[in-house]
């Protein structure tokens, strides 16, 4: 299925002059990946890589030496405290960057200049300019850049898009999307620093903006309203965004870092029908243990639970590694990730000025 999608996209975008260099040389049967950053996402990725048969987690690197060594030992990887040393290793094909957003550009640039193919966590960059520079440096160095917009690998979101594309709901009218949970606490509380994370809009709503664009086409106009309470021990953020896509569909996206537990939902209504989903109503298991320990204050980032044989993170990383090996175009490109950043930035600007923001006609790269 992914390959068919790749082929379709390749023919549709044949005007784009992207050449794919595969520096893998001879036919490789095993990829060596290095994971940079061992926060919540880094750990999720390492775990997912370990389940992918033709990829070897060759190296891991993070600031916390103890954590790095523990993870390295658990997965049979080599620990590195210096990125440069890791990038010098010729056997490493692919670098998977799971660092806070404000570090993406710096690390992607170094990895590209070292000739390594790259997977970068979302959002690709803090703004469009950064994202474009990252795309450019990878192109200049002939390396692939994969953007980890993982919601495109969540089965319920893939399925919903398929139904829309098949015409099950007819002409779309109103699309309602929602995502969020508690305020995420992580290393140095970087989520709470808008300069480092872009806040809720860039860090989390970007998933829904990307899915919206993937399913309904380019976004024309964005109006965002936002409330933030960042002082004290109980920060929260809550955002309501109204968007219009070029085909006339209207979308309402709710983003929350103010709710007690993580949940996502969508309601897609068109003139022939409606599809609804709520993560709270679709979990097959509901477990309540009688006495449980209180978790510490640092609960980490909320990661949705998927009771699947192959979870979305594994699907995503498998897809990228396959694309790297075959030269196929991934179902989400770095350009898609840049466009998602563009929508988020428009929403941030709109919320800041209290006015709608138009997004320029997209240029063909």
């Amino acid at each position: 299925m992914p390959k068919k999608e790749c082929e379709k996209e390749m023919s549709a975008k044949s005007r784009r002059s992207r050449t794919i260099h595969l520096k893998l040389g001879r036919m490789k049967t095993m990829l060596n990946v290095a994971v940079i950053g061992l926060g919540t996402m880094g750990n999720v990725h390492v775990e997912a890589w370990s389940r992918i048969s033709d990829v070897n987690v060759a190296a891991v690197s993070a600031l916390d030496r103890e954590k790095t060594e523990a993870v390295a030992s658990q997965y049979g990887a080599k620990p590195y405290s210096q990125l440069e040393a890791l990038l010098e290793q010729p056997d490493i094909d692919l670098v998977d960057i799971c660092l806070p957003t404000y570090l993406h550009k710096q690390f992607v640039t170094k990895a590209a200049e070292a000739g390594k193919h790259i997977i970068c966590e979302k959002p690709l960059g803090l703004d469009v300019k950064e994202a474009q520079e990252m795309i450019d440096v990878c192109e200049q160095n002939g390396v692939e850049l994969y953007a980890a917009q993982v919601v495109r690998f969540f089965p319920e979101y893939v399925n919903a898009r398929e139904q829309v594309k098949k015409g099950k709901i007819g002409k779309p009218g109103i699309v309602r999307l929602s995502r969020g949970g508690p305020f995420p606490r992580a290393w140095e509380n970087w989520y709470a620093d808008e300069k480092k994370s872009g806040g809720l809009i860039l860090d989390m709503m970007i998933h829904d903006f990307d899915w919206l664009r993937w399913t309904f086409g380019e976004v024309e106009r964005v109006m965002a309203r936002r409330v933030v309470r960042s002082e004290g021990t109980n920060p929260l953020e809550y955002v309501l965004v109204t968007l219009r896509t070029e085909d006339g569909t209207i979308a309402h996206v709710e983003g929350t870092w103010a709710h007690p537990s993580f949940r996502t939902s969508f309601e897609i209504a068109g003139d022939k029908g409606m599809i609804v989903h709520d993560s709270r109503d679709s979990a097959p298991l509901s477990l309540h243990l009688r006495a449980h320990e209180d978790k510490g204050a640092d609960q980490g980032v909320a990661v949705p639970e998927s009771p699947l044989h192959k979870d979305p993170y594994q699907r995503q990383l498998e897809h990228f590694s396959r694309c790297l090996m075959t030269g196929a175009r991934p179902i989400v490109t770095a350009y898609d990730a840049l466009k998602a950043v563009e929508i988020s930035q428009a929403a941030l600007k709109s919320a800041s000025f209290g006015k709608p923001v138009e997004i320029g006609k997209h240029e063909v790269n």
Binding site: K171, G173, L240, A258, K355, P356
Partner: protein
Amino acid sequence: MNIGIISFAHMHANSYAKHLHRHPEAELTAIWDDDPSRGQRASDAFGARYYDDLDQFLHSDVDAVLVCSENAKHRDHVVKASQAGKHVLCEKPIATEIRDAEEMIDSCREHGVILQIAYPVRFAPSVERVRDMVQNGELGDILAINGTNHGQMPGGWFVQKEMSGGGAATDHIVHVMDLVRWMLNDEVKSVYAEMGTRFYDIDVEDCGIVSLEMESGTIVTIDPSWSRPKTFPMWGGVKMEMVGTKGTLSVDVFKQSVLYFNDRDGKVQQLPWAEDMDKRLIDDFLDCIKHNRAPFITGEDGLRTLEVVKAAYESHESKKVVQLTRR
């Protein structure tokens, strides 16, 4: 008390008539309708005298009238009723134009009659509970409300602009807007709206999103769309997701229903068992009259919600945020 109903154009008139019929201290004695066959049918159904002449109707011995005519006719009917000294319960929206609403309010005040607007959702027990919680400070400061009032396309005069004033935005913004104003004791500062005609081949909007900021800074969105498919088990609903500094509250006003898998008719339906809000609205109106007290939901409440609706249309057309200024 003798009560009259002006027009059965709005389907709620049937519900109101039923409740009047059962009320121990009131009686539906007169019906006027500019559609004679519809008026006669109602007259037969509820045992009230049908008048084809509005003046005659207004000179009958009714103490108060319920105005359930098409939106564009509210002004005329309410002003005339007030001139005849009758108290008025008027369907929502109050009118289709601001100046009409203002005339209605002024006329009722001049003639010393009550003007109440029919916002029955205020009387849903869950809604009253939410208001109490908000006003008691249980949620802290309310920072945001994500509200929906979804429905199905009603057809008929509801989609004829000269009769209704507009489509889904006119029909459905007002309920949630009224609740928000009432619960927060606050007014709208700015309005932005996206609207469309995406579901039906009609001349008015059938969907949209309204994005608001209140004077206090609370952000609110309202989705008034006629987006429920024909196969939806319910006519629609009113929901609010509320975010306060002390907590969040999810409200689904019409959730009290059983799910009925109806093999006979080949459909799935939600059958409500909730207390009837229309009944409590009527009871409240009659109580106002009996005790000659100020109405719970005033003409001003109707005017304030209409202002937001008009601003939403203006915003949609201009693709700009509209700042609201009030008289």
